[in-house]
Amino acid sequence: MNCTDVLALMPLHLTGELDAVRAAELTVHLRDCASCAAEIGRQAAMDARLRASVDAETIDSTAVEHRVRQVIASESRPSAGALRWVFALAGCVVALVLGFASYRVMRPVAAPPAYAAAARDHHAEIVDRQPRRWQTERASIDQLAAQQGIPVTAIVAFTKDGFRLEQGKLCRLDNLIYLHLVYTNGAQRFSLFLRQPAEQDNGTPNHDSIDTANLGADHVAAFHHGQLSAIVVTDQPGDAASHLARFAAAVLERS
């Protein structure tokens, strides 16, 4: 390795990038060549002067860093157009949810078919007095009740405020046999449909609640008690049907 080679390789030597073989050859040359050794020393010293001078310069990066952070923050936020779409979509979702909820709350609930059939029977047979074969003897009515497994206490439970049992017969509502009883106080009448609960009674009211429905001019109140299902129908205005049902449920509870 001669002086020209040393000058050419000096950049790699000063950055420590020379491979081991050439680093060894350069070391041997520098041991024998005082001028090259001095030159490398001067170059290293000048590099140090340059570093020290540039390091002494004041570099304030605050402003540019602040600007970069601002741009990054603005790019990270959704644009106004995107926000408008997000709000519009959210509004549609809220409107759909509210609309569905309102529909669920406000929609008319279809009354069970047995209620409608009971109301029709009451209207035709009691209000319109269409001819039917009724049992008016208490013994005969009790016999019909016994055939259907209905206790006599249930019949008595509906005598209220001067109401007495007037007549009774069996009928079919929604393919189930009911004992249709009619109570009267001389001026007003209401119908009572009784039967033992059937297997398909999953959707009928439980013991603690009275289900009501208004079907045209007739008002229906229904409840279960023990092994008994009861539907009260009256054409009296207001909530007379539910009062009767509540009263009867209380009497049955005490009996």
Binding site: L7, L12, S35, S53, V54, I59, V68, I72
Partner: protein, 159 residues
């Protein structure tokens, strides 16, 4: 932000003024942020940033400053100390170099990149970096009125 001061220090010796240098560094950092997924896990992040800086500078058409930018020093500016004189003399010598020589000195000497890393940053061969570094050092020595004994040695060998 790491490396911002180093980027700004080099950018000030590339751009036409301080404002242009800050714009260059801003573009560099934003490009790095947007393309961060391109940075390999084993890569030198500082070298990657400088490569982005020089690509941005190339894209701007290498608008080299024609007038040296005077930069404040850490020393009290009102006091003319020997250290201040020394820094000013070296800084003027550096600023008077051709931009290619100034660049390799800033990267290879001031920022401490190896010749290979400098070559990657500038997208030039390693041999070109080595020769530019040699010529840049000679030019600095010439401007600082320091005669190189090695040059005399080479001249003697040639004769």
């Amino acid at each position: 932000m790491p490396h911002t001061r180093s980027l700004l220090r080099v950018a000030r010796r590339l751009a036409s003024d301080v404002s242009a240098a800050e714009d260059l560094v801003q573009d560099t950092l934003l490009s790095a942020w947007r393309g961060f997924h391109q940075l390999r896990a084993d890569a030198n992040a500082q070298a990657w940033l400088f490569r982005i800086l020089f690509n941005a500078w190339y894209a701007r058409g290498r608008k080299v400053r024609s007038v040296p930018v005077m930069m404040p020093l850490h020393d009290e500016s009102s006091v003319i100390s020997p250290r201040f004189d020394e820094a000013m003399e070296v800084s003027r010598a550096l600023d008077s170099l051709e931009v290619e020589h100034r660049t390799v000195l800033m990267l290879g000497v001031v920022e401490g990149f190896t010749c290979r890393e400098t070559a990657e940053i500038l997208s030039i061969p390693v041999g070109t970096v080595m020769s530019r570094l040699s010529r840049a050092r000679q030019a600095m020595r010439a401007r600082l009125n320091a005669r190189s004994p090695a040059e005399e040695c080479v001249e003697k060998e040639a004769s």
